[in-house]
Symmetry: C2
Subunit: 210 residues, 2 copies
């Protein structure tokens, strides 16, 4: 089977990182660029990413993660945030960005912006929030795949107190909230989880071809 | 910049496929295996994937996708489904699977199953549904990245009538529902969208390092 499948089999949710090993600037740059390029619905990118290096902040965030040490011990901590809603300003900014990058008239993108505003207006606040969070999960999927290919260890986490994260990182005032957390770095040679066989359903249980 | 970033820049949401070009069995196998290996919360894999080849079915699904021709013209159509809830049976099956694959006593996994049942019981039906859907978006992120690396064209779609999909594919009776759709294959040389510059926010707009 191909290299990519080998990489996906190599990865596992790393519970214990080697605190002495740090990712290089180039590695972090690849991870950031892969997040920036993540597809999102209508290309709206209702996302924000915080890379936490600061140790005292990491200690606070570990407390807000039920004491899970990977938050502190991993090389870098990525906090995946999503926007609490989608404002008309956000859509206008996207339309302007599109006009600028594609060197087209603002008129053309204005029509598209009007369409997007009608789409978004058809959702209530909570639906918008959930929709944005789902886009965040696409970013996580892309991120974890890129990590595996680069032989970077990672552990995706939903298990943290998001309200506390929002508070510690001052996210509320910016209209965003912590949705997912992903420490990255190098597995500790003694992390016993790396030796566990991967548990997945066999293809016949989750696929149908018609 | 690295190969992987080149691949992510190469990909785009392919609106028009070349209907004469089909993916090989080996390519489809890699895509399926990458979906099977997708991480999910607690490894529960509340997902199901339908690969639609049948042309008359694809025509019906195109109707249920507001007539978007990529549903018919792409080489293969992947329908990403998620479970409507998480049953105790689902959790027991996961625990049994874990015991079997890791060759450990069922006793040990039973305790984990009890913990998972408490977790899931703390969510109402709608929260379980949304949680499962989010796992589906991780699978999409991984899938699109693997497609890009393999130079397979794809278009992720939320824009389809999911109730009609559920009906056409008889999903309700199986406790699953269509969550995302992704036609895959080869871009048509005349698909004008491939020539558009990619629109993404610059890193400074969506990243903070602290």
């Amino acid at each position: 089977m191909k290299e990519i499948i080998e990489a996906l089999n190599w990865r596992y949710a790393t519970k214990r990182f080697d605190p002495s090993r740090k990712l290089s600037n180039e590695q972090i740059e690849i991870l950031k660029e892969s997040l920036r390029l993540t597809p999102s619905s209508y290309g709206l990118q209702p996302l924000y990413f915080i890379v936490v290096e600061d140790e005292s902040l990491r200690e606070q965030l570990m407390e807000a993660s039920y004491g899970q040490r990977q938050v502190l011990e991993a090389s870098h901590l990525f906090v995946f945030c999503s926007h609490t809603n989608i404002s008309h300003d956000h859509i206008d900014e996207h339309a302007n960005n599109t006009a600028q990058i594609r060197k087209i008239e603002k008129e053309a993108t204005n029509k598209y912006a009007d369409f997007l505003k009608r789409e978004v207006n058809s959702m209530d606040q909570n639906e918008q929030k959930t929709w944005n969070e789902k886009q965040c999960y696409i970013a996580l999927g892309q991120f974890l795949t890129v990590c595996a290919i680069q032989q970077i260890d990672a552990i995706p986490m939903e298990g943290f107190d998001s309200a506390k994260y929002d508070d510690i990182l001052n996210l509320n005032e910016r209209g965003i909230h912590a949705t997912l957390v992903c420490p990255v770095g190098y597995r500790h040679p003694e992390d016993r989880h790396q030796f566990n066989a991967k548990v997945r359903k066999i293809q016949d249980m989750i696929f149908e071809t018609i």
